[in-house]
């Protein structure tokens, strides 16, 4: 694992390395170099399989974090490539030319986070939400509870309990 | 009476006199020349008239005052007068035709022209061998002059080749003449004949040389490359002269000198003639230059005439009639075609589509082409008929086969050429102008063809008089072709109706049934014609031509009349078929199969005619020899029309591409002609077998396989009309099977199925035609849901398919029931099982037809489509009425047919009790079934309707679609490759093995033609070599084999 990261380092800049497990590491790279690094990993280092592409909203830093989780089936190791991109006009280079299925991930990210992937096939087509008009629901500034209350006719009288509290009260009422 | 010597005098005088007008006034010179030609024509015609009407004796004219052998003598006899008239008439019209050309080229050309005809005249008349040689040379040189004066490079080159070739020939001829003179001491032909030179030692070689020279003069295959180049490059007017006039003279010389040769010379001439006929036509196949193609045809035709002369021992006193018939047709038609080639000026036959800009020219071309192939009513038809009859009668089977083969091959390229003219793309082709002087001769010649055709029909010497009334009606319709459709349609229907009315009382038995199918059916389908607007140029004469042929079949009492009608029908239907949009290749394969089939029929009739004095159809009943062969020939011939398996490949395309109202004519009606033929054949000839093999059993299998394959292929079609066409093939398979059973029930099934097939196929083709009319496509998967737009058409189709599938209570079931009983009676279970299997397969295409067109999803484009034209629906609903009548009262159809069959098949008839039919095995009451089924149906329907009277009407996408909804009608309509799983299993059965086979045959013929054609490389030396080699080979064969020993 280490030598792989070293080999990447000879060519590219890696800003942070996190070794999660023996066979799982994460590297943080710049937006510009990301696709190039992934291509290198796929073609040279044998990470033939894209496990997933996902995003996280770091609203505090005004960033989205994209994670490309790659798998090397022969070495049985995983490597996550993290990219931070700006929340404003979030956009990232498309990787669908490397794996066709990436287009689907990117479509989902476009819908749920509003991250654009120019030139990705069908990226603007609705994925799960048909005709969504609000801000993308996975952004942390979207208040899902509020939205649900405004939209879905909450039944009056519904009580929500914290399960732990509730069970504690029920099982040990005297404590 | 003006003496024949004046012909020479006038010609010479004019030629001489013209010299004075060098450049003065060309039109005047031309007038003078024309006058001379006219006078020459007049003289010869006058003699001919005298011979024909006044018992004129043959006249001998001696020049220089001595008697032969010391003088040049001319003879004017009956034959001479005919040939002279032909040649001079041709000369006269050639002159008219060449008016502009001759005027431009000047007096020299005119002089040469006159001299040419003088030469030809003398060649015909002279009785002096050397004189013959001289004038032969004169005319040859004159022709070369005509060619060379053209002053075009290829013309000069070909003239040069001609020169070399004729040099060799004249050399041979001259040596021969010297030898003859040496041995017989006379040049007077009568003396030579009398001297029996053949039997003088050394005389053999002399006559041989003359014979070979004369034969070479006629351009035998393959030593004729030079002639082809001439035909191709010379002015078409000159080509006409070479092809017609000089060839005529050449034939006459041969004819004249024939008695001088030994009897085996006949054989040689026959061999060379036949070889030339077949070989030249074979090479013609690959041609696509019009004039060269005509050249091949010319050579072939002259070869045929040569063969006829050579076959004199077989033909006896019919030789002259045959030879004249063929020659006359050849001259008129070929000259006409060459002239047309001069008008159209398109070298490539593909560009002849341009001729269509003037439909009358097309009519002329059609006349000439059909005359050449030997269609009625042209002289060649009668000549060929006699030829084949006589050949068969005197056991010339091999000759017969080869001549028919050659004729067939000629048909291939002539019809291909004609097809291009009728159907080719003519948008970007250059304009052409028609000068009166060019078109007039062609028109007169065409009229001449018809006139001589009529005249020859009176000479056939059999009692049967042809029924020319329908033909006159065709001419009448042609004359009023400028009128709008509805008038012509009314007239046509009235004409057919009137004719039916007049002949109805005279029709009996099965002729009545088929008469009604042909004529009443014709009237019905013609009704649909009212739907058309405009003029529909040329449609009505052709339609009536087909119906005239069909009714001729009904009325025919003799084999000749039958064959006449058969050919007429073929020609008419060919024209109808080729009218369709993309029907050029299909029409070609149709006509080729038809012509091929017709020749088989001809051969069959000829063999049947052996040792019988009459031509009555009854000769088939007491055939003397070769009965199974005759049966096979005729059966295969008729089965080309019923499109039985192996002979069916012409049908789908032809029927599918035809116009909406033509499809029912050619499918529902025309195919019955084949059935009718088979019926006549089987009734007359009875049981036949090859050794132990029962031909009828084979026929039954053919019928069964046809039924299975036809239906199977129908099920896999995407094109609605093609589907119907294949279904016709299948259904005719049942009919053939039924006929092959040779029992009362089998025939009852076959004939009633014929009637039923006529009804439902007319119904379906008209209905589908109406749909195609509206939606402008034949691909079924592009339609769908049309029931809402065309409910009336839908009902027609629904009834039609119920009848096809044989589901009770409609009348189709009757046919199935009878067939079952017939099979149990006969015991041929395996073919029968195939037939019933085919009946079930019919469900596949029936459902597909109605589903993919009328049910399922309506397409965007068809949302505003209207119901089919009213006049298309009228005949459909008349037929529907009749179908319902026959369904409810089956004995109204079956009982009369049964009574017709009773005299022929007295055993096993159905017993009728009211509407209850009882056979040896079962029973069937059509009326009762109808009542019961309708009763149940109405009851259930009334109940259901009451239950659901408030049903909500919904639209086409309101379907439970797995919680989604359809988005496009195209993707929701399940139609394309509908029976995919079925195709996966049984698709191998419908791989186009048979089409491939025929394709291979045609490829093969083309390849052979192409190989052989390479000997014509355009090199004069090679051509000369060919001639020499021909002589050598001929010599070796002649002296090695049979000649003079």
């Amino acid at each position: 694992m280490k030598d792989i990261i070293d080999r990447i380092k000879t060519k590219y800049t890696i800003s942070e390395v996190v070794e999660q497990r023996k066979n799982l590491s994460f590297v943080t790279v710049s937006k510009e170099q990301a696709i190039s690094i992934i291509t290198f990993l796929r073609d040279i280092e044998g990470f033939k399989h894209l496990v997933l592409l996902t995003a996280a909203d770091w609203i505090e830093n005004d960033k989205f974090q994209l994670t490309y989780l790659l798998n090397n089936p022969t070495e049985k190791i995983d490597l996550g490539v993290r990219v931070f991109i700006s929340r404003e006009n979030a956009s990232m280079e498309s990787a669908h030319h490397l794996w066709e299925q990436v287009a689907t991930y990117q479509r989902e990210l476009k819908e749920m986070f509003g991250i654009d992937f120019p030139d990705s096939p069908g990226v603007d087509k609705p994925f799960i939400l048909e005709g969504w008009e609000d801000i993308p629901p996975y952004r942390r500034d979207f208040d899902t509870k509020q939205y649900s209350e405004d939209t879905y006719f909450p039944r009056p009288g519904r009580e929500s309990n914290d399960p732990a509290e509730y069970m504690k009260k029920k099982l040990y009422p005297n404590e | 009476m003006v003496g024949p010597i004046y012909i020479i005098a006038i010609a010479l005088g004019t030629a001489f006199f013209l010299g004075f007008f060098k450049k003065a006034n060309r039109t005047f010179s031309f007038g003078l020349m024309l006058l001379a030609m006219a006078f020459m024509t007049f003289i010869s015609a006058q003699w001919l008239y005298a011979f024909l009407t006044q018992n004129q004796e043959t006249v001998q004219i001696f020049t220089a005052g001595f008697k032969p052998p010391f003088s040049i003598s001319l003879q004017m006899g009956f034959h001479e007068s005919i040939f002279l008239t032909i040649i001079n008439v041709l000369g006269l019209f050639s002159a008219i035709y060449l008016f502009g050309h001759l005027r431009d080229k000047g007096v020299n050309m005119m002089m040469v022209f006159v001299v040419l005809f003088m030469g030809l005249n003398v060649v015909v008349m002279t009785r002096d061998l050397f004189n013959l040689f001289v004038f032969l040379e004169i005319s040859t040189i004159a022709i070369i002059g005509l060619i060379l004066l053209e002053k075009k490079e290829d013309a000069i080159s070909s003239g040069f080749k001609y020169l070399i070739a004729s040099g060799i020939i004249s050399g041979l001829l001259l040596i021969g003449i010297i030898a003859v003179y040496y041995y017989s001491e006379s040049l007077f032909i009568n003396d030579i004949i009398a001297s029996k030179l053949m039997y003088v030692k050394g005389g053999t070689i002399a006559t041989f040389l003359i014979l070979i020279a004369l034969v070479l003069e006629l351009k035998p295959f393959p030593a004729n490359g030079w002639a082809l180049d001439v035909y191709e490059s010379a002015h078409p007017g000159v080509g006409a002269i070479v092809s017609s006039a000089s060839a005529t003279a050449g034939i006459f010389i041969l004819f004249k000198l024939l008695p001088a040769f030994s009897d085996s010379a006949y054989y040689i001439i026959a061999v060379i003639g036949t070889l030339t006929f077949v070989g030249s036509n074979l090479l013609g196949i690959k041609q696509n230059k019009a004039t060269r193609l005509l050249g091949y045809s010319s050579i072939g035709q002259i070869g045929l005439v040569m063969a006829v002369i050579g076959l004199t021992p077989y033909l006896g006193d019919k030789t002259m009639f045959i030879a004249f018939g063929l020659l006359l047709t050849h001259i008129l038609a070929k000259a006409g075609l060459f002239w047309l080639a001069g008008i159209v000026k398109s070298k490539n036959i593909r560009d002849w589509a341009v001729i269509r800009r003037n439909p009358h020219l097309l009519v002329l071309m059609g006349t000439f082409v059909f005359a050449l192939i030997g269609f009625p009513p042209f002289p060649s038809f009668f000549a060929k008929w006699e030829l084949i009859m006589q050949l068969a009668n005197s056991s010339g089977m091999v000759w017969l086969a080869f001549i028919l083969l050659g004729s067939f091959i000629e048909g291939i390229y002539m019809f291909r050429w004609f097809g291009y003219a009728v159907k080719g793309e003519n948008k970007d082709l250059p304009e052409f102008k028609i000068h009166w002087n060019k078109i007039l001769p062609a028109i007169l010649f065409a009229i001449g063809l018809y006139a001589f055709g009529y005249y020859s029909s009176t000479l056939t010497g059999i009692a049967g008089k042809f029924n020319y009334l329908p033909l006159l009606f065709i001419v009448f319709l042609y004359a009023i072709d400028f009128l709008p459709v509805y008038i012509k349609n009314t007239i046509s229907i009235a004409g057919v109706g009137y004719y039916l009315y007049t002949i109805y009382p005279g029709l009996e038995e099965y002729r009545l049934v088929f008469g009604l199918i042909f004529l009443a059916g014709g009237m019905l389908t013609l009704l649909a014609g009212y739907a058309y607007k405009g003029k529909r140029q040329g449609f009505y004469p052709l339609t009536i031509m087909m119906f005239a042929g069909l009714l001729g079949l009904i009325e025919a009492k003799t084999t000749l009349e039958f064959f006449f009608a058969w050919e007429l029908m073929t020609a008419g239907s060919y024209f109808l078929i080729i009218r369709g949009k993309k029907s050029m290749p299909h029409a070609l394969s149709y006509i080729l199969f038809s012509v091929g089939g017709a020749y088989l029929i001809l051969a069959g009739f000829a063999l049947a005619h052996i040792d019988q004095n009459t031509f009555s159809l009854d000769i088939l009943s007491n055939v003397q020899y070769y009965a199974p062969v005759i049966f096979t020939l005729l059966a295969v011939g008729f089965m080309t029309k019923t499109a039985s398996i192996g002979l069916h490949i012409w049908l789908p395309g032809a029927h599918a591409e035809a116009e909406s109202d033509v499809s029912p004519m050619v499918s529902a009606i025309l195919l019955k002609a084949g059935v009718f033929g088979l019926i006549i054949l089987m009734l007359h000839m009875g049981f036949q077998s090859f050794g132990n093999v029962d031909i009828y059993y084979i026929l039954a299998w053919i019928g069964a396989i046809t039924a299975v394959m036809g239906n199977m292929m129908a099920a896999f079609q995407e094109d609605a009309k093609r589907l119907l066409a294949y279904s016709s093939i299948g259904f005719l398979g049942y009919t053939v099977f039924g006929l092959a059973l040779m029992s009362h029930l089998g025939w009852l099934a076959a004939i009633s199925l014929s009637v039923i097939h006529f009804m439902f196929k007319t119904l379906l083709f008209l209905a589908i035609g109406g749909v195609v009319w509206r939606v402008k496509t034949k691909e079924m998967y592009k339609m769908g849901g049309l029931i809402k737009k065309m409910p009336f058409t839908f009902i027609s189709v629904l009834m039609g398919i119920i009848v096809i599938s044989g589901v009770p209570p409609l009348t189709g079931f009757g046919g199935k029931w009878i067939l079952y009983n017939a099979v149990l009676d006969k015991g041929w279970f395996f073919p029968a099982a195939a037939v019933f299997f085919a009946g079930i397969i019919a469900f596949l295409y029936c459902f597909r037809l109605i589903h993919t067109i009328f049910l399922g999803q309506l397409k965007d484009e068809h949302r505003e489509v209207k119901e089919a034209p009213f006049w298309m629906l009228v005949p459909q609903y008349i037929i529907l009425g009749v179908i319902m009548l026959f369904s409810a009262l089956p004995n109204s159809l079956l009982k009369p047919i049964g009574e017709i069959l009773l005299p022929y098949f007295p055993d096993g008839a159905l017993e009728w009790q009211g509407q209850l039919a009882i056979s040896a095995f079962g029973y069937w009451n059509g009326k009762l079934i109808m009542f019961i089924v309708v009763g149940i149906f109405v009851t259930v329907f009334a109940w259901l309707w009451y239950m659901n009277r408030n049903a909500q009407k919904v639209k086409q996408f309101n379907i439970g679609y797995s919680a989604e909804r359809p988005s496009l009608p195209e993707t929701t309509h399940f139609a394309y490759n509908f029976f995919a799983p079925y195709k996966k299993v049984l698709g191998f059965l419908v791989t186009p093995v048979i089409s491939n086979f025929w394709d291979d045959v045609s490829e093969g013929i083309h390849a052979v033609a192409d190989k052989i054609r390479r000997i014509y490389d355009g090199n004069a030396q090679n051509y000369a070599l060919h001639i020499i080699m021909f002589v050598v080979v001929f010599y070796l064969i002649a002296f090695g084999g049979f000649y003079g020993i």
Binding site: T151 | D860, E861, A963, E964
Partner: protein, 212 residues
Amino acid sequence: MKEDFKKRTVISPDGKPIEIDPVKDYFSDAKPKVYKPAHPVIEKFANWARANSLWVLGFGTGCGAIEMRPLMTPRFDAYRYGIQWRPTPRQSSVFVISGYLSVKTLKRVVRTYEQMQNPKFVIALGSCTINGGMYWDSYNTINRLDHYLPVDVYVAGCMPRPESLLTGFEELKKIIKEGRGEGANKYAENFDWYKANQKKIIKDWDMPDYNW
């Protein structure tokens, strides 16, 4: 709206351009009807038959679909109560909404419900259909099914066991026999209200108001 449902112009065989509005041209736009019950005697008999022949539409809308399957097995054997499964809404009479319902699924559910024939019954299975259950604050699942479809029987629980579902069916039978199973008519009567609720959350409404 999908491309296929936008207006388009095609050329007819005659060469004339035709305007096609798929939603109008290809779908019936009739409103649902209220069907009056027949004469009480007949209706009672009919209701008995309806109650004893519950044809359930085989459409699992949420996680509860897994609870329906055991009903077919020998352990629970719902057939003995006259409960059978049909593959098409046309022939079914009971629609079991099995658990949470996302907006996307709701669109299909509405369409399918409307394709069923009157009388038709809805069993709402699980808490999610009652008040949203554990998805009560989700941006994408509904909270109350009865705002979109008339519900005959609720089966509470997360998830209810198959036995509960069977009890629900028995309850439905009771309701039908008593002549209270008029959900379809209720839907037709309050059609505008239901439609307004549905359209409020189904944003790309590309179908006619009532899917026959």
